[in-house]
Symmetry: C2
Subunit: 385 residues, 2 copies
């Protein structure tokens, strides 16, 4: 993608490329967050207020704010002692597999955010790759269909670990309460553990879809949730995330919360005090207002993107509960041939759906993170295609 | 330790406990570092200077400063592309094992900083624990003798991985060039990889002992070095470290640098921009002067500790090249009985040597991180014992 876009730009130096392929936020950080981090830096510069090693599971001021606002305020029973702060959801998603047996059977959505697959590959759980099908022999692929809002249904067979992501990257879908309940029931039935990635939950603001898996009855016995400050508070360069593991989650007689704490105490040493102060500031009334305004702006851009894609004649999904629009490419084209067409004819860079697994072929992903102005310009060019 | 100290304090609320058990720094951060981090926070708060995801291996500005100052200025041939920045040496030391086969044979010093053993245990490489000997069946223990400055000699047998730490925690020893050359020769002979923890290298300032394993000829084919900003720039709460892996380090046809990059790209997402700016500031002329002054103060305290322990009649080691003094407990006592005596009779908290493995029994560790005033008071009490 980057290579083709760069080559095109070299050949057409006058075209302003409109980048709708980005998964990164545009910033800047909210003033309340900046203020809190500046104060934390100043604290570390004075002997009386210096802080060295922090608690490995994160400072209580942050874990309490998260427990209260992200969980309890939504009827999800998660306490501060069940939250483990980290340097980001990417690390947590990559590391969580350490708690499970190497031969654990992993299910992923199709299409899927590739990080879950990569982690399974590194852990030796993916088997061998078949270039013909684009599938790994050891993974269970869960088809995601437009008629289900691209949320997968539980498989017939039992598995050990299931990656779920709602709101979803790349499809922009978001699970209903009923869909998540079906997964919780399935997991409690067969003993699977649901690995629920809530990185985009802020985009559900104002909807009635669950923002945490722990809003669903029974989830405390079968789910782990991954939280991120990247897409809400713009922390992609600051680094802060967290895992919520209920004390009731037990497998083979072991508390997964205890196992995770042990893992982290050996292979991690806590997140930066500065980042944790910044994250906590996102929960103050002022910080919350500012962060919500940033997310709302991105949601407006996503909505424009959805409408623009539809106006350009594409069948498009997502865009209301997530920063992504997932569109079918025109008949007779592939993800990559449509990528090339968009690049050459419109100077628009999007992400070929086939990069998200075999089920992504025939789709393209547009991201709203570039901001409203970029999206407006791109929509205008799409319309004239 | 913490429990016994707390119980004593409850019974004797008037005694001012002098804590020489700490491994944490006292701070504050150097002004140049504070200024750089404050500027970085401000940058993230403005749209024009905001930065999102950084390079997974760390920003070039930091990797170039490290390559130049930590390696090339000392005749160690390491380039910026061979340095991978992280959130700290604890994570790196815990994660490096991911590159090697599960059945890899690991050698550790005895006594040893427990994190290396814990990492081997979590990775399933340690075998079973024998409470009678205090040893893990799967580990090769390298005895560290006073007459060798507590640096271990290569074993007769071949191993796959060897943890070396110089200057050493807990013994305060530091390897000579000859000792490290013997290890490099051994490793190149049998194919072992040396895992060299240089967290305390700043304490070698002004000595002729190697501050990097890569000052030793042949190390580029057999060593990985762990760098930390915790004990030099006081980053225990900020979090920043790095691994140096030479491009020539190849095992079973695989470049370990490439493997590490791949591991990090899946299971990590780069360190905080703010922390990296702070770390880079420690290499400016002003930052370097300030950081050196902090280390020098800690070294003065360590020297006082060594002299005080000797004046108290203890046989003591370390204290000149490291923040730790390692002392033999009086005849007829154990690490723990001497710990109790120090606590009860002097109100001094130290670390029982037996916590660092079976070879630590009969020793106690004093740390100079509490600062000169604490050390002076403790030495005074030791003298009157």
């Amino acid at each position: 993608m980057a290579r083709r876009a760069a080559a095109y730009q070299r050949e057409h130096p006058d075209v302003r490329l409109l980048r709708l392929g980005v998964g990164d936020v545009k910033g800047p950080l909210a003033p309340a967050v900046v203020e809190a981090m500046a104060a934390a830096v100043a604290e570390l510069g004075r002997a009386e207020t210096f802080r060295g090693y922090g608690p490995e599971q994160g400072y209580l001021f942050l874990r309490e704010a998260m427990a209260r606002e992200d969980f309890q305020a939504r009827g999800a029973e998660i306490g501060p002692e069940e939250i483990c702060v980290s340097d980001g959801a990417k690390s947590d998603c990559g590391n969580i597999g350490d708690l499970f047996a190497p031969e654990s059977r992993v299910a992923v959505c199709d299409p899927v955010y590739p990080a879950y697959v990569d982690a399974a590959v590194l852990a030796g759980r993916a088997g061998t790759y078949d270039p013909a099908t684009g599938r790994w022999s050891g993974l269970v692929y869960l088809p995601c269909r437009p008629e289900d809002g691209f949320m997968p249904r539980p498989p017939e067979e039992p598995v050990d670990l299931v990656w779920l992501c709602s709101p979803n990257n790349p499809t922009g879908g978001a699970a209903t309460r009923g869909q998540l309940q079906a997964w919780v029931d399935y997991a409690n039935d067969c003993g699977a553990v649901l690995l629920f990635d809530a990185a985009y939950e802020a985009f559900l603001d104002g909807t009635d879809r669950p923002r945490s898996i722990f809003e669903v009855p029974g989830a405390r016995r079968c789910a782990i949730e991954f939280r991120s400050f990247s897409k809400t508070a713009g922390f992609t360069g600051v680094r802060c995330g967290a895992v919520a593991i209920p004390s009731e989650l037990v497998r083979e007689g072991q508390s997964l919360l205890s196992l995770w704490r042990r893992r982290q105490s050996v292979r991690y040493n806590g997140n930066s005090y500065i980042a944790q102060r910044g994250a906590a500031a996102a929960y103050t009334p002022e910080g919350r207002r500012q962060v919500r305004a940033n997310v709302a702006a991105c949601r407006r851009a996503a909505r424009l993107l959805l409408e623009g894609a539809e106006a350009a004649g594409l069948t498009a999904y997502g865009g209301t509960c997530a920063p992504y629009v997932w569109a079918r490419v025109p008949a007779g084209m592939t993800s990559w041939s449509f990528f090339d067409l968009l690049l050459r004819e419109a100077g628009v860079v999007a992400t070929p759906g086939s990069g998200f697994g075999p089920g992504g072929e025939g789709y393209i992903r547009f991201s709203a993170f570039g901001g409203e102005e970029t999206v407006r310009a791109a929509v205008e060019r799409l319309r004239r295609l």
